[in-house]
């Protein structure tokens, strides 16, 4: 796919000499320690997550989980979490008619136990339900009980996906702009740039746990400094509830994330800037190229590889964003991201199966975005 552009492929076609083979062997030797460590720390946890996503495990029943296929992702039928293995039955609820049913997994017999004292039993005949006693048909009775279930059928999941994408796009694009700007400023050789560099790094250096709380404090609608400043400047006339107002919450979170992670981007871009060959800048200066054009046409293409990597890692992080959102806005739907969703399923709700499925889907979404980036950025992984 992304790997290996055309020229790389053609070159690979030449018969590799044993010299080249030796080089490759040595390359693998160089790779080995890293690969060993990485597969050690990543292999088991990742495999386990994927495996668990195919079971009905809960936090308390990790060892006795049953394989359920892709039901955690998407399934049609009686919902998975309605199944009680001990009783061998599904406990179903028909929200439309406000009725409770018990569906015997083995016999297919359906019991309406809305009134516990007077259960009504239905038998399954040719796919339809009939009164067990009277044999009268009960049309449509099962329909609402059979539904799409799994993470993919959860409205909240899709909300989380949308939130995450909005968050990632907004914060990463702002970060890129700001980060590149900061890097350029740092690279422009002004006095005290050492201090500036340190200053810019501060947000990154404060533990997220702390900085999220700190911003929560600063965002506070009555004793937070944000409102104080804005009120003082006359920008707003009354204090805003930054993190509480569903319309502001996302913006508020993005603002903090940009603050927090721009240094990451700025620093990487700065490093890239400083490794550029100086001579073609001289050429550009003599050619009378406007600095802005130099940036777009020379600098940017040259730092592109590093920038793309920085953006990829920032995007991965943004797509996995958890603690900041969690601390600032808790589980609010307006800002719930995929990670928050996954964690809610996994830890809060103890649904290890569904949580793992959500995590795996999250990885899938991230992978899609990454591949998209790589293609859009024309990153040729295999090329020199």
């Amino acid at each position: 796919m992304v790997a290996g552009g055309s020229s790389a492929r053609v070159r690979a076609a030449a018969p590799p000499s044993s010299h080249h083979r030796r080089r490759v062997r040595r390359a693998w030797l160089f790779l080995a320690p890293m690969l060993v460590v990485l597969s050690l720390v990543a292999g088991w946890p990742l495999a386990r997550t994927v495996a668990l996503s195919l079971t009905d495990a809960t936090l308390n029943t990790l060892d006795e989980a049953n394989f359920v296929g892709v039901a955690n992702y998407l399934a049609y039928g009686p919902p998975l979490d309605a199944f009680d293995p001990d009783a061998g039955a599904y406990y179903l609820y028909d929200a439309e008619h406000d009725r409770h049913f018990v569906l015997d997994a083995q016999t297919g017999r359906l019991t309406d136990e809305t009134d516990r004292d007077h259960p009504i039993v239905y038998d399954r005949v040719d796919g339809d339900y009939v009164h067990a006693e009277t044999g009268e048909p009960a049309p449509g009775i099962a329909d609402p009980l059979f539904q799409w279930s799994g993470v993919l059928a959860d409205r909240l999941w899709w909300r989380a996906v949308a939130n995450t994408l909005v968050f990632a796009i907004a914060s990463v694009s702002l970060e890129v702009i700001l980060g590149v700007a900061i890097a350029l400023a740092l690279n422009a050789g002004l006095q005290a740039r050492g201090l500036l560099r340190a200053a810019v790094l501060i947000p990154w250096a404060i533990p997220t746990v702390v900085s999220a709380k700190m911003w929560g404090w600063m965002y506070h609608d009555s004793f937070g400094v944000m409102n104080d400043i804005l009120l003082g400047l006359g920008v707003i006339s009354e204090g805003l509830a930054w993190t509480a107002d569903p319309h502001l919450a996302m913006a508020a979170v993005v603002f903090v994330d940009v603050w927090k992670t721009t240094p990451f981007l700025a620093l990487l871009v700065l490093a890239a800037l400083q490794m550029l060959p100086g001579e073609c800048y001289e050429a550009a200066r003599v050619d009378g190229v406007h600095p802005v054009t130099v940036f777009w046409r020379v600098t940017l293409p040259l730092i592109k590889p590093a920038l793309v990597v920085a953006i990829i890692f920032r995007t991965l992080d943004a797509l996995r964003i958890f603690d900041l959102i969690y601390v600032l806005t808790a589980n609010t739907e307006a800002t719930m991201t995929m990670s928050v969703y996954a964690r809610q399923e996994l830890i809060d709700f103890q649904n290890v199966g569904a949580g793992s499925a959500a995590s795996t889907l999250l990885v899938f979404v991230i992978a899609l975005v990454t591949v998209f980036y790589l293609m859009a950025g024309r990153v040729r992984l295999g090329a020199d």
Partner: protein, 368 residues
């Protein structure tokens, strides 16, 4: 067209003074060649003109205006860098078109100029390559192409042909001369190639250790070097120098006594205040030494130590009693290593340099 004037310009890197007090006048539309030993400051001078280095002291004027503080972009110069300085991420075409596309030149016009330059530089087939896939000479041609597409007022060429083969170099040289005639732009050119310098230059500037040794038309430098440095630097193979003393100094010439020679060698130079007995050196170019039986017995003679046959020419390295001499004999010469030959030093081909290196004014010889 823009004249360039250096007014007591100096440049220091740290403590090293690389350009010392250079006064220089480059006429608008002229073709000036800088020559000088490696590291003498030629590239630095070009970089000063381009504005890539700050001037430590003195004033640089372009078109009569001091430009010490003018940004490179505003000086209207194009430069071919000794180290090429290509944009690594752009193809050859893009490298050459970059300056034009920025100047908002019409797309068709850009294309025309780039293709024209590529044709001149014989690299039509390379337009889509990236610099890293080019040979050294090809990269150099891209660097030249980039400058010529821009058609600026001043061209700065830093050894633009050094990585090209002889045939291509001759062609390129002619192209540059043609360009100069066509555009009338001021061109400043650094080269180590004597032929380039002699054929292209209207004015050659000889630099040494950051200072100007002599400025003049090519043949003037060849025939009337002002000092021993210039004499040795201009002309290839190099001028021979023999130590000696002034035996006689008259109005119609001097005579230089050389070691091991019975009679002093006459030279058609003015004594210029040097009295008889002063230590001098006698200079004579290899191509001016006369070889053969016909020469006076008074001249130096010696064993041939080395014969270098260049095809069109043959260089004889002769160890004479007066010192080591390189002689340019015709291609047809039969001389062999070990032969003893007799050399004639024609009086009007001789240069005499005072102990401080200053040349005594020559008489007869003029630029042909």
């Amino acid at each position: 067209m823009a004249g360039i004037v250096f007014d007591r310009v100096s440049k220091r890197f740290g403590t090293a003074e690389v350009i010392r007090n250079v006064d220089l006048d480059i006429a608008p539309g002229s073709f000036t060649v800088f020559v000088g030993p490696s590291g003498c400051g030629k590239s630095t001078l070009l970089r000063l003109i381009a504005g890539l280095e700050d001037i430590t002291a003195g004033t640089l004027l372009i078109e009569g205006c001091p430009v010490n503080d003018v940004a490179p972009a505003k000086r209207g110069v194009a430069m071919v860098f000794q180290s090429y300085a290509l944009y690594p991420h752009m193809s050859v075409y893009q490298n050459m078109a970059f300056g034009l596309s920025l100047a908002k030149t019409d797309r068709r016009e850009t294309d025309r100029r780039v293709r024209e330059a590529a044709r001149i530089l014989q690299m039509d087939h390379l337009l889509e390559r990236k610099p890293k896939d080019l040979s050294g000479g090809q990269r150099q041609r891209v660097a030249i192409g980039r400058a010529i597409t821009r058609e600026p007022k001043v061209f700065l060429f830093d050894e633009p042909l050094s990585n090209l083969d002889a045939a291509l170099r001759v062609q390129m040289r002619l192209e540059i001369a043609k360009l100069h005639r066509a555009l009338g732009a001021t061109m400043v050119y650094v080269t180590h190639d004597q032929v380039e310098a002699m054929t292209l230059a209207e004015q050659i500037v000889v630099l040494n250790a950051g200072a100007v040794e002599q400025v003049g038309a090519p043949l003037e430098l060849y025939h009337r070097p002002q000092n021993r440095f210039v004499a040795g630097f201009i002309g290839s193979p190099q001028m021979n120098f023999l130590p000696g003393t002034l035996a006689a100094a008259g109005a119609d010439g001097v005579a230089v006594a050389l070691a091991g020679l019975a009679s002093p060698v006459p030279a058609a130079v003015a004594p210029d205040g040097q009295a008889a007995g002063a230590a001098v050196s006698l200079g004579i170019r290899p191509e001016h030494i006369v070889v053969g039986d016909g020469v006076a017995a008074a001249g130096p003679h010696g064993r041939i130590a080395l014969v270098e046959r260049l095809g069109s020419d043959t260089l004889l390295h002769v160890a004479t009693q007066a010192g080591h001499l390189v002689v340019a004999a015709g291609a047809a010469t039969k001389a062999r290593v070990g032969d003893t030959i007799r050399l004639g030093l024609p009086a009007d081909a001789c240069h005499v340099f005072a102990a401080d290196g200053r040349a005594l004014a020559r008489r007869g010889a003029t630029e042909a």
